[in-house]
Each structure stands twice: as C-alpha cells, then as structure tokens.
Amino acid sequence: MTADPVRDGGEPASPPPMDAVATLTAAADLQGTALAILEREEASIRRVIGRYVHNPHAVDDLYQEVCLKAIRRLGSVREPDAVRGWIYQLARNASIDFLRRRAAAPDRDHEAVAEELPAHGEHAREPGDQVLSRERIDAIHRALADLPASQREAIRLRIEDGLDHEGIAARLGISRQAVEVRLCRGRAALKSMLDRILGGDL
C-alpha cells in the first residue's frame, strides 16, 4: 500500500511538475555533495580558517559557522563541481569577517587583531605570535605611501573610500581596466613587502 501525498492542511497534493522534481533532485544531490565535502574536508576547511585565525576556540566556532552557511545557502551554488571552491570562499570570508569584528570591538585594538593573524605556513602559531603587529601594520602603510601615486590613489579610493572599480575609474578619469591594472600592481607590491617582513628580510 502506498500513502497518498497529503499536504499539511490535509488537502491532496498534486504531483510536482517535472521541472520542480528535477530542481529538488538537483538540490538534494547538491546538499549531499556539500555534506559529504564538509565531512571529508573538515581538516582542510579548518586549515583555511587557521591561515587567518590562531585561537583554536575561534577556529571551532568559525568551522561551525561555515558548515551552517554551507547548508543554508546551497541554492546559490550553480554548479555542483564548484561546491568545494564555494565552501573555501565561505571559510575565507568567515575568517576575514571575524578579524574585522574583533578589530571593531571597542575593547580591542590593533594589537588584539594582530594576535589572531597567522604566521607563515604551519609554523610559528604559538600564542602571542603577532604577525601583523602595530609595527608591521605601520610598515604596510609606509609601503603604500611609497607606491607610485597612480597605484596608491587607486588603492586608497578602493579601501579607504570604498569605491568600486567603476567609481574609481570615474573619479580618476581612466578605464576600468586601467583601474584593475593599478590595483593589481599596487596590491602585489604590498603583498611582496609583507612576504619579506614575514620571511625575516625586513
């Protein structure tokens, strides 16, 4: 004997259209894929978070947050093959947002944020290790000041003023492509400077 499909209100339910069935099936497949990845990739997800956050309790919390977001937002993933990259981005964004929240907390200052920032690779993650100490934050600002004016202005408009690429292009009277070139070159130079600092060259 088979049970008739019945709605919550007791009314007989009409069979869902084939498109809806396909959508539900795809969603179920996607959910299964995501859950399987979350289980299988727990260590790698935690490692991604650990590149930004030292505190093991915070890593636990952020891992749970990433799992919840992954399950809730499955519908926004268009391609099942992209689930792993999408979960990576969830973990990265959650970590960055965590650091921003900590920095914005009224009882915490820059040093407190720096304590959460990781060292190179799997090493030097002892408590108290401050990769981005106040001195290093200041050094990055000095490196920004030393960039060519065109790159420096583009980065300041992007980060300090929050303009998007079109807004920067309009402000500077250049193309969007030119904005992206300036931002990429400037960011690459600043990242290289941070590499030298963390590598001990500075």
Partner: protein, 147 residues
C-alpha cells in the same frame, strides 16, 4: 588551472571582484592548493592592515642648526667640566658638591676634597682602588669652616 595562472588573479580575489560563481576554476584551484591559499591569505592580510589606521607619526621639533650646535656644545662642556678631576667644578655646578684637588706628599698621589653644604670628605684614590673596605678607609670626613 595552475598556480602560475592563479597568482596574477589573487589581487582581484582579495579586492572582491572575483568569486566562485564568476570564476569556478580559480576557486576550485584555491580549494586544493595550499600555496595559493597562503598567498591569498597574505593579500587579505594586507587589506586588513590597510583598513586599520596607522599610528600617528612621532612629532619632531626642528631646531635651527646653530642653536642645536650651541646646545650640544654646552652639554658636552658642562658634563666634561663636572667629570674632569682638575676642573673647577664650581663653575659648572655652583650649588652642588665642590671637588678640590689637594697636592699629595712627595711621591704620592694627590688627594681630593669633596666639599658639600654640611661638611666635606677627603678621598685618597689609591685607597679606594683597593676595594670597598679600603675605599671606606680612604674617605675621611672633615669639618669645614664656613666663611
């Protein structure tokens, strides 16, 4: 996608203009490549650092060089006069203890009289060099007759 292809795109990922929907191949690579993950984390750290205001630069006071030279010379001469055993310390520090060099007996080292407001001490440096107890023996309190 290779690391060489991904690396130039990482500044745009850090800038927030590339995402998994727009470039799934790049993020599939990022999800499995620890080297590129580390590189992107560095880009993100730069962003986080730039979002924080730098500390204000320490205030510097610019002094015209003739004034600076005169001040430095005064300091050197003043310290030197106070430390130099034979110097007239009273000129450099008129309100503090005054040190007088006393001629020693023939063939012996000179003595020093340290004169204070309430009295003075005669010091035999050759005795002080021998140690603390000898130093104590080498310092003899004296009563000074004030004018």
């Amino acid at each position: 996608m290779t690391c060489g292809e991904a690396e130039p795109l990482l500044p745009l990922v850090a800038d927030g203009v590339l995402d998994p929907d727009g470039d799934p191949a790049l993020f599939a690579h990022l999800a499995r490549c620890q080297s590129c993950q580390e590189s992107l984390a560095r880009h993100d750290l730069v962003t986080l650092a730039l979002e924080r205001a730098p500390r204000p630069a320490p205030r510097t006071i610019r002094i015209p060089w003739p004034v600076a030279v005169a001040a430095a010379a005064s300091l050197v001469l003043g310290v030197g006069a106070w430390l130099w055993p034979g110097a007239d310390a009273a000129a450099a520090q008129p309100t503090g203890p005054v040190v007088h060099r006393l001629p020693g007996a023939e063939g012996e080292a000179p003595l020093y009289l340290i004169e204070g407001e309430q009295g003075g001490v005669v010091v035999d440096p050759s005795a002080i060099d021998g140690g603390s107890e000898a130093g104590a023996a080498g310092a003899v309190p004296v009563n000074l007759r004030r004018r």
